[in-house]
Symmetry: C2
Subunit: 315 residues, 2 copies
């Protein structure tokens, strides 16, 4: 279920209705010059201000009129419409808009304000990404804290280090150098401009979306590189390192099999197969923003460190 | 480009901007008890009345605010989002709504009226179908009337006969008995209730969508039957009977190859491969409506008759 709270930096609130726990995310600003990729110029700050003053209060009222929004069925439907839930969210963003429009038109929000807010949502095919991230965080938090469990419950990167958490090792992060991203660049940029892998969006892969669900999304290769056959191969290779499949998220191209989900750090070490991540590419210099998107991999070393710590804890 | 004209039965107006010629279609009523599948009860007539009195004038004003709507890019995008443009239009219907919402909110249509009209559009995943049909008709009409051409420019069925037209044989229709549809039934219905293949929607296959574009739409097999692998095979088999590929409509699952388009009646006769059609299933009794959806094939005999007539005309 999703709602909105609206302080100076408004956030989505995603609640796991089974346990009442919440996850949060900011609103998606779009591509290019955006704060999450390090841009912080006038247009970026203006957009953030507008989000706090117009977008968030509007969506808050619209969601109040709509009632809690169920995210899992929406994500499941988007996976049948070519999204993988990380770098392709065109379908989920459209489905979100479709849910919001009737409630918006029955709300008391003035029509001109609705026009501004809904036009922004309609114009940003990545708008759903931040809901996808928070939904994945809420799902994974439910699996965190199981004694001795080698399940990976978070993967995150800061452009320098890549870190993972395991369910059975509490709040510890196991880190290794972040890898470069192999991808496609926006016009005027190339690999020499790129920061290493960056951001907290790999929470989607941790939950079985993104690179793990690429079989659902042959069209994404036009954004991140590769071929549709490789997209299917990526999903299938991830089945070697997951504990199972999430049958709430089925992938039509592999006969409606559930997406591989639940990364087992032991399986990663045993096979040497590391998680595949679809991700945006940030410029290495602060202030520029997103300059492309591509595919990268988690560094094996994180998993070795994590399993070492798990073993130490059981010794 | 699409507009609306609104007499007692309002229609979409789709214009081929290259030659100014127009095609028309009614508004999509949804599934089940709908006029186009033979239902004509109170709820059907009430819906049609509401369409004429509320939906059509609303969309007409919204489109006036929006300006002409380009259909080919929208269809192309939907083919990257799991639609095949005949029996799956979930993406195109969402994309249409996304185009309409900003214009709607800037129009002078009262908010309550917008709420009614846009909620109907948001609630009908097949809403775009009739625009797809009219777009295909407009594209094919441009190819009609070429002397000696064996290109198929229309396929249509009335539940009894299946008919085709060729570009080179003027207004003549070449007919054979319509086939049954092999498909999935709505609860409570089965093959014993079904009419034979029926409707003018096979204009989409004639233009390379629907059954010809199934590779784009693995999820459609949950609606019409079969497997995702068969969906790809269907598209590939149609390449044997088309004059080429439409590179405006690319299919990600076959490496972004264009959909096979331009059925050549000679190739159909030479190979014995007949066009595949995804279609709805009507109840055989008037008044009931749609009872399922499935896959059927054009009868070979139509093509033999048409080629015979073409040869006679050249003798």
């Amino acid at each position: 279920m999703a709602g909105v709270i609206s302080p100076s930096m408004p956030v989505w609130v995603v609640e796991n209705s089974a346990n009442g726990k919440r996850a949060f995310s900011s609103f998606n600003e779009g591509l290019g010059k955006v704060l999450r990729f390090g841009a912080h110029g006038h247009e970026v700050l203006e957009r953030l201000r507008w989000m706090a003053e117009v977008l968030a209060p509007t969506l808050s009222e619209v969601l109040a009129a709509h009632g809690p929004l169920e995210l899992k069925p929406l994500i499941a439907q988007a996976l049948h419409m070519g999204d993988e839930g990380h770098n392709r969210n065109a379908a989920a963003s459209s489905l979100l808009l479709k849910k919001l429009v009737p409630a918006a038109l029955e709300s008391t929000v003035p029509q001109a304000q609705l026009a501004q807010a809904l036009s922004f949502v309609a114009g940003n095919d990545h708008f759903f990404l931040n809901l996808s991230m928070a939904a994945c965080k809420a799902m994974l938090d439910a699996a965190h804290g199981i004694a001795h469990s080698s399940l990976v419950t978070a993967m995150a990167r800061n452009g320098v280090h890549f870190g993972i958490r395991l369910s059975g090792t509490g709040d510890a992060w196991f880190e290794a150098p972040a890898r470069p991203v192999d991808g496609l660049y926006f016009p005027g940029y190339g690999p020499q401009d790129a920061a290493a892998d960056l951001g907290d969006s790999a929470i989607t892969e941790t939950a079985g979306l993104g690179g793990f669900a690429m079989a659902a999304s042959p069209a994404i290769v036009q954004f991140v590189g590769g071929t549709p056959a490789q997209a299917i191969a990526n999903t299938l290779s991830m089945t070697h390192i997951t504990l199972g499949h999430n049958h709430a998220f089925t992938l039509p191209a592999i006969n409606f099999g559930g997406t591989p989900a639940g990364i087992d750090a032991r399986k990663v070490l045993d096979t040497g197969i590391v998680p595949i991540i679809n991700t945006g590419i940030a410029h290495k210099d602060a202030g520029v923003g997103q300059i492309g998107a591509g595919i990268t991999h988690a560094p094996l070393e994180c998993f070795a460190l994590a399993i070492g710590a798990l073993a130490d804890g059981m010794a």
